[in-house]
Subunit: 344 residues, 2 copies
């Protein structure tokens, strides 16, 4: 199909002035007669003229568009973060292009290539769990396209980062379970290479240590961020000779799997097994029993990452130093972890 649009040239010809004059009139330059401006504006309006942003991009080498890469847009944590990105981008006059990596390095590479070649002005990313190597993001940065990380960050690159206090969130969740009388607390962690997995695991371990509970390797299982992963690990855990009396899941998907598996197996929550998750469980209240969870300010993370990014884009120079913002998580207690406290 053929595309039709009005150009500056046609307006110039119709009004018998030069393209330069039309351009100036449209951009409201000061050095133009109000009479000319009026005529140009009127005709532009009438012809429904819009400047071709592609031409402007070619000229300015700027597109007023930023990219976002997340593992999976269907994940509420990420879709909410994208909401935050759009919020800030929109209000500062930028558009947003959304990419999903599906946790695949290959897709992340393809998105990076698209971003580089389409001259997107900057990028907000939560790194795919499969991406141990992040040279593609370093390359973007060197090419002058700033990159800001959120949620899943990496030490392998100097830039702004926004994350949640995973360590503390995990520590508090674990301590809460201990306070409710649990002693055999299992942790279904995320993929091993991911930054947040390590932070959460540390928080879990340190809470055990603080309360004099021995850490047991077999009670920690790594899993993909899927319901199936949570289910399978729960089966493994409950099959152990010494079975856990609590399970702390590293994400909402995983925790949904835990919940499902425990129900299948006929365990009561919280009495047989107390359960707590990690993420913003909007749907947590739908489950029976409703699930306790460490909630994260996902929308705000998107906002902050974007605002840091736009600052980078709009500043002429590389900042003296990069910033890592650590936001607070929040412990929301529900029935799934609310055991009767027995004894001491």
């Amino acid at each position: 199909m053929k595309r039709v649009s009005v150009t500056i040239k046609e307006i110039a010809k119709a009004l018998d002035v030069s393209k330069s004059t039309v351009s100036r009139a449209l951009r409201d330059s000061s050095e133009i007669s109000s009479e000319t401006r009026r005529k140009v504006m009127e005709l532009a309006e009438k012809l429904n003229y819009y400047p071709n942003p592609i031409a402007i991009s070619l000229l300015k080498n700027r597109t007023q568009t930023i990219g976002v890469i997340v593992p999976d847009i269907a994940n509420r944590f990420y879709s909410s973060a994208i909401g935050g990105v759009e919020d800030i981008a929109y209000s500062r006059g930028y558009h947003t292009m959304i990419y999903q990596s599906h946790e695949l390095l290959e897709r992340e590479l393809s998105a990076s290539r698209h971003i580089a070649s389409r001259r997107v002005d900057g990028l907000v990313v939560a790194i795919s769990s499969q991406s141990e190597n992040i040279d593609h993001f370093v390359a973007l940065q060197e090419q002058g396209i700033p990159v800001v990380f959120f949620d899943r960050v990496s030490d392998a690159m100097q830039t702004h980062k926004v994350r949640v206090d995973d360590y503390k969130g995990a520590f508090e969740a674990t301590e809460h379970l201990i306070q409710r009388g649990c002693r055999r607390i299992a942790h279904i962690a995320g993929p091993e290479k991911v930054s947040i997995t390590r932070f959460r695991l540390e928080g879990y371990k340190d809470a055990l240590r603080k309360h004099g509970i021995a850490f047991q390797e077999e009670w920690v299982r790594h899993s993909e961020i899927t319901q199936a992963g949570g289910t399978e690990r729960t089966y493994q855990l409950m099959a152990l000779r010494e079975r856990p009396d609590a399970i702390f899941g590293a994400s909402d998907r995983i925790t949904m799997g835990v919940h499902w598996a425990l129900r299948q197996l006929g365990y009561k929550m919280p009495d047989d097994v107390a359960v707590i998750g990690f993420c913003d469980l909007a749907m947590s209240s739908l489950l029976d029993p409703p699930v306790s969870s460490v909630t994260q300010p996902s929308f705000e993370m998107g906002q902050q990452a974007t605002s840091l990014l736009l600052d980078l884009i709009e500043s002429k120079s590389t900042p003296a130093e990069y910033e890592t913002r650590v936001l607070r998580s929040n412990l929301v207690i529900n029935k799934s972890s609310l055991r009767e406290i027995v004894g001491s």
Copy 2:
């Protein structure tokens, strides 16, 4: 920050040939000596040269990018459909830009404007519930940017459409409830103006009629596609003097609200109230009891809409006639509607 990239000009200068020659060598034109081609390719490789797609877009008036507008990417139905869009687009060499309307006409207008001005090659849309007027899509089409509708379609515009057999899905769901002995079947429908709402409502009514059950206005409630909407309508329905013995929800979000409200109110599913939803409830099995539902091939809808769109984009002329594809929905029975059948 400043952007650096290699251009054709620099390659030409380094090799002491013309830009034309470099361009031809890169595009592997036939009229070029293999020696020159080799030299150019080598240097391009070494300098990490990529053609500037913005320049090419300006030239060809094509961007190899399509847009998708959905009400809400966090909704599984839409995120899955987007997966289908990406699948086809990717395999045919196109990129995808995702927009959310958040069910707001204003956001839909802003996305349409961006699409028009960025010269996106085409658009796949599920119309926002707030958009009674779709002139903005007609305008895109007239401007030469083809638009294909899926899920939420409109009669106000001639184009390809892909939808599910909502009428039949609703008919079967309602009939199933009747067969399980329900007689006072309520329907929480979607927003009034939306096409699928009407089709589903018709299916519901016709199933009642077929089985000689009188239709009652007060048992149909319109709601937004939210959990809160489903909850509130359920309260209203259960407060009626003659309360329903079954509720058929028009979407998964709504049905989640129904489920929650019934649990809060202490009704047993399916014995007090049988429940059935409409959408691909991946999470349906997580609820207790698991929810029956009319499932839709969302991924496939995205694929088909995109493949129709790309055909439009790549054909030179307007097609003789537009096509409306109606896909099959599927009834998945779970405990929430599985009542004991009493008597005949």
